[in-house]
């Protein structure tokens, strides 16, 4: 895609910028859509309508209005807050989410940076989220924020372990850390004659791995039932309590971007990335992008569905689930995946 852009745009620098800005535009458009969709889905689940007025048809412009309003809001920095860190945190959290998109293979024709250690880079860069949340909570100088930040630190650091181990089980099957290569390996429909060559169908233990990955993904993007960092009914708004206006908007954007990022990672690792489920039918770079986003959005939808159905776990139960259930299970499963690969 970079070559294509360089062909139509005279300056290669501008072409590079356009190339790099693609995920940013995607995140923004997606966030506008996803926030609206979440409210509509919540409405559907709860026997209501959700946004109806703003913009005409089913309130499609609701998130645009929200964002435009947030820009106008007063930017409050509490007097006793650590001003520099307070201002830095929202940018850092958004930068981290954005940077992680660099290694996601959106289609066979587009990947920001086709590096060999893509999966490793992605897991490493998402740790920035933890740091920025702790930064935000500590800099706010608010007790509720602090409690929220401490919970985040514990939660995200812990859940990184099962996430990494489940990702590792895919990596040993693929024997590559390049996400583009991993996707390419899943092309074709050979399993039992019709099933696509997606990793989730290739190895029965990878189904378990996906289940574990999905649970840890919920915790990593702090969604219900693991939304303790911002749990509204306990901590007012957690680490976001003191943020107002667009600074808060950045947190919200990052939260949704994070959801998409992890869903897309899940789609890449387990559901064949940009591969069409029908073999060569409806494949190609553009179709591929469509399939990829569809798979990602389906996972996002499931996350929303869970959010509006389940209550929230307590902080010690959260840790218990991680350390005494998910981590041992994921290690055992890792060994089983490896054994299966050796035998078959």
């Amino acid at each position: 895609m970079l070559e294509f852009l360089e062909n139509i745009i005279p300056s290669s620098t501008i072409a590079l910028v356009v190339f790099a800005l693609f995920p940013l535009v995607l995140i923004l458009v997606y966030a506008l859509f996803a926030i609206w969709a979440e409210r509509k889905i919540a409405g559907f689940i709860q026997d209501r309508l959700g946004p109806m007025r703003t913009g005409g048809f089913h309130g499609w412009a609701q998130t645009i209005a929200d964002m435009l309003k947030l820009i106008q809001k007063e930017d409050i920095i509490p007097k006793d807050a650590s001003s520099f860190l307070f201002k830095l945190a929202p940018f850092m959290i958004f930068t981290a989410s954005y940077a992680a998109f660099a290694v996601i293979p959106f289609s066979s024709g587009y990947i920001g940076s086709n590096i060999n250690i893509g999966a490793f880079y992605l897991l490493a860069i998402t740790s920035f989220l933890t740091i920025s949340i702790i930064m935000a909570s500590w800099a706010s100088n608010n007790k509720w924020s602090l409690v929220g930040g401490m919970r985040t630190a514990a939660q995200m650091v812990s859940y990184e372990v099962p996430t990494i181990v489940t990702v590792l089980s895919v990596l040993i099957v693929a024997s590559s850390m390049n996400l583009m290569t991993i996707t390419e390996m899943q092309t074709g429909n050979d399993i039992m004659g019709f099933l696509p060559n997606w990793f989730i169908f290739q190895n029965p233990f990878l189904i378990v791995a996906f289940a574990l990955f999905f649970i840890s993904m919920l915790a990593e993007s702090h969604r219900v039932p693991f939304d303790l960092p911002e749990s509204e009914s306990e901590l007012v708004a957690g680490y976001q309590t003191e943020y107002s206006g667009m600074r808060w908007g950045m947190f919200m954007l990052a939260e949704y971007a994070d959801m998409l990022l992890l869903s897309l990672l899940g789609a890449t690792l387990f559901f064949g990335g940009w591969n069409s489920p029908f073999g060569t039918f409806m494949s190609g770079p553009v179709w591929g992008f469509g399939w990829f986003m569809l798979k990602g959005m389906l996972l996002v939808f499931v996350m929303m569905w869970i959010r509006w159905t389940l209550p929230r776990y307590r902080v010690d139960q959260l840790m218990h689930i991680c350390w005494s259930i998910l981590i041992p299970l994921s290690f055992v499963n890792f060994v089983l995946v490896a054994l299966w690969e050796m035998i078959f």
Binding site: G59, Q62, L68, Q72
Partner: protein
């Protein structure tokens, strides 16, 4: 209306369309502060629930005052609570609005005469944009209050009023005081 309030001196097509876009955004996304005081809070909850559904108008609750645009004073404000209400209002970020819901917060309601501990109208401590009458107001009445607030927001301006307007404004102020 917050940051851009009366920052521009003359009106031209860009300013006017910007103004209407900004006003549209503000009126379409009124996030209210999630806190209730008394009986009216139950009706406020009923308005937010499925049957009446605040979300149709883009109105959602935020529990932190920093992120809220509207404060619904839903219920009786007591002397002990008055300073807290004031504090909450101060914590909200501009542009902020206040809807006084129900007789109690409008004027003390049924407690106006013998209620030694009841604040006789929340407007004694914070400025109020819209008063919703009723004891308690029906959910429809609260929605009407929001629609009235939307109308009020539509008429806000980022253009500085002309000097002649200023004089009349000041004259008005003198008359009222």
């Amino acid at each position: 209306m917050g940051l851009l309030d009366k920052k521009y001196h003359d009106s031209n097509i860009i300013i006017v369309s910007l103004e209407s876009a900004l006003n549209w955004a503000r009126k379409s996304s009124l996030w209210y502060e999630q806190f209730g005081l008394a009986c009216c809070a139950i009706e406020m909850m009923a308005t937010a629930a499925s049957h009446y559904d605040f979300d149709r108008f883009g109105i959602i609750p935020r529990s932190s005052p920093r992120q809220a645009d509207v404060m619904i004073v839903a219920g009786t404000v007591t002397m002990k609570m008055a300073s807290r209400i004031e504090r909450l209002y101060e914590q909200m970020s501009e542009p902020r609005y206040v809807i006084s819901m129900g007789s109690c917060s409008n004027s003390g309601g049924p407690y106006w005469e013998h209620g030694y501990h009841v604040l006789k109208g929340v407007d004694k401590v914070i400025p109020v944009d819209v008063y919703v009458p009723g004891c308690p107001p029906r959910p429809e009445a609260l929605l009407e209050g929001f629609l009235t607030l939307q109308k009020k927001i539509e008429n806000e301006s980022i253009i500085e009023s002309k000097p002649s307007d200023k004089i009349t404004e000041e004259a008005d102020r003198h008359e009222t005081t």
